[in-house]
Symmetry: C2
Subunit: 480 residues, 2 copies
Amino acid sequence: MQRPALTLLAASLMLAHGLACAADAPTTIPAAAVQTAEQLRDKALHDDTAYKTVESLTTEIGARMAGGANDPRARAWAIAKFKALGFDKVYTEPVTYPLWVRRSEHGAIVAPFPQPLTLIALGYSPGTPKGGLTADIVQFPSLEALKAADPATVKGKIVYIGYRMHRTKDGHDYGIGAGIREDGPQVAMTKGAVGFLLRSAGTDANSRTPHTGVTEFSDPAKAIPAAALSNPDADQLERVLAYGKPVTFKLDLDCGIEGQYTGYNVIGDIVGSKHPDQVVVIGGHLDSWDPGTGAIDDGAGVAIALGAAKVIHDLPQHPDRTVRVIAFANEEMGLWGGRAYADKHAAEVSKFQLGSESDLGAAPVYQMSASVKPQARGAIEQIAKVLAPIGVVYDPKRPGGGGSDLSQMHQKGMAALSLDQDATYYFDWHHTANDTLDKIDPAQLAQNVAVYAVFTYMAAQADGDFGSAPKAFAGDGAGE
Amino acid sequence: MQRPALTLLAASLMLAHGLACAADAPTTIPAAAVQTAEQLRDKALHDDTAYKTVESLTTEIGARMAGGANDPRARAWAIAKFKALGFDKVYTEPVTYPLWVRRSEHGAIVAPFPQPLTLIALGYSPGTPKGGLTADIVQFPSLEALKAADPATVKGKIVYIGYRMHRTKDGHDYGIGAGIREDGPQVAMTKGAVGFLLRSAGTDANSRTPHTGVTEFSDPAKAIPAAALSNPDADQLERVLAYGKPVTFKLDLDCGIEGQYTGYNVIGDIVGSKHPDQVVVIGGHLDSWDPGTGAIDDGAGVAIALGAAKVIHDLPQHPDRTVRVIAFANEEMGLWGGRAYADKHAAEVSKFQLGSESDLGAAPVYQMSASVKPQARGAIEQIAKVLAPIGVVYDPKRPGGGGSDLSQMHQKGMAALSLDQDATYYFDWHHTANDTLDKIDPAQLAQNVAVYAVFTYMAAQADGDFGSAPKAFAGDGAGE
């Protein structure tokens, strides 16, 4: 029994060693694949599939708020577009979420200087009582100041926070602006406020197009109406407040949650020729906010992913692994599509070779980072080398989060990239009526397509994986 | 009898000669006045009266459409402001005009791709039938193309003209854009169209803030509803039209003329110390369009005139001639205030030494021209010399029109200047919701105040006149 035992031991040692060897072997991308990726890159820079796709979506469908009248029309558009582009499989997966409806919104200073102000209700805001609610404004410079406030100063009032976002290439100021939008109403509610206003989380200092976006309430039954003023209207409110007299405001919102809705992620696969069960996943989200036509957020992302898949599909041979494009449902009101997808596919996370979603507009990708196993760093460097000539700088120190919806698969353990777009002007138009096709430069959009085509193809052809496994990247700080 | 006859002849010859001498003597500005004007210029560059004035008007009153709820509030504000600034006389003169009312406006493509488009009704447009009117769109590239069109192609349709304005320093493209807005509906009406749409007469190519403005109908009883699409919405309509399918549009305007209204020009005089009956007149118009707060159009003009008068008022001694500031009523719907003023004061035109109104925003004056008698050219050159250090170039070849409302006094024979402001960005915001205080740079506004203070004071102190007389400048091409 020793022998067998020894044999078994040896065999198990050998197996372990073999596995360790496979796990330790650096992932590399074959020279032929690198060469093809370079060709894909150069072809994508002159391919107009993505631009025509976002033009088609924004022109034929326009705004497509999750659960709204255009939700099924957008889905039908996406299914038809995936099929027309030649995907081997096109299918949908359900996504269920609370249905939020916007009908109308008005705001006005009642005293001391009566005048309307331009505002927009936040997603998940309840409506006001019919005919509006009227209360005095109490102003805070920041969320922290509101958190520190004595509830007696807030009770019965409409809270206003006037944080002013500034343009930056990485868009980091949105963290503060969106933080006020997401958390401010809840904090105001707990202190007894009857309404909440913020200066729009947007960098268009001189445009009267307020920025909507989702907010959150721990207890929807106690939620208070919440809306964003355009930047010039916030300036105006602050000027009126500066007179030092009580400022009375009338807020009249007709909106709210009305039951549930089931939408669908729309998914297309170019099935892998060698490893059809292994998947490189890219995408964008199909829903948009309602005032614009959802060109930069996120028609562009859907179009970039479809454009990248198209140039790969047009190769003489399908790549080794499956290329999957997902047009997610309802990203805007809380990553509903991304969470549904990750919940459904968590058990298969090891089959997801690498993923990244495009959801920061249509300006060029300038920076790339990755969350992968150490043995795949060389392959990431190979990808970066192909992307360097089109302006992408690889930062090996930062993690890669996978983008908005795909951050959820990354949290489950999927290896992921961050492909950072230049966000300098993105927050001028984000979540406003100004999110329209004219904001997209076709050449800049094509650069994105090239980036996605290159990384997708190279990951699909890699010898080895990037380290996806359950919870493989927990605590990397990305995708959270 | 010969002698007396000879004496009379000689006397009459001498008188004629004397008059001719006075008329032929060059108008000059005394050295002391030039020196004071230089001091006024330098003081005005650091005086914030104008900025505080336009801030007060736009903050405390906001939009002030002629005949609307804010019309009497704006008038009361103006009277109080003139008095607070120390004018010797503050008074009003009535201006009666058709009252046009805007309640709501909506537009939507019904087919082939249903979606709302952002538009704004034009001043004097009638409303649609309740519930809107629905018709197919017929597109024309220009007003000329519409004029040349076979009525059979237009009858029963909604005409759309898509002329795209471009930014220029002198704003000349507005001539074409405003021409389409003013004349297009009338031409469409005569060919049997049921509605009229234009691409906004504005240079903000990427902003969903449509530009309103007045239109004209020869027969109001036959007028058709007319509105302007924002530039991105015009782009969208043109993309949909490019599919080559019939495009059905629903236009729903609730607006129209409802009787007459009597508003008032608000006038303030700093009474001249030597020639109180001789007047240098400056001003702006108090009314604005309704979507913005009328900061650049024309709170700035009123503020510039008041700021200039203020620094003159603060001199140790009143100037020789009267300085008059007029805040005109209802410029926007057809120079109603300017026409009423000119009709009332035509007989006194010779008493108007020189005039100019500010109504092209708040950017710096870069060019000056004049319609004056030849003997006053030297005085104009003296004024130009004081203005040259602050960036004003004198063009002796072009006439001076006096500005919008004061063009009407110029047509009666008043000597007038044109003080051309840099209009590069003016038509981004003009007649839109984006006409708000943030568009005004205080230093640029102060440059305007300096220009107005200098010319006003120097004209008030001149030895001699500038040639105002009934119809003195007929046919100079200015002010028409």
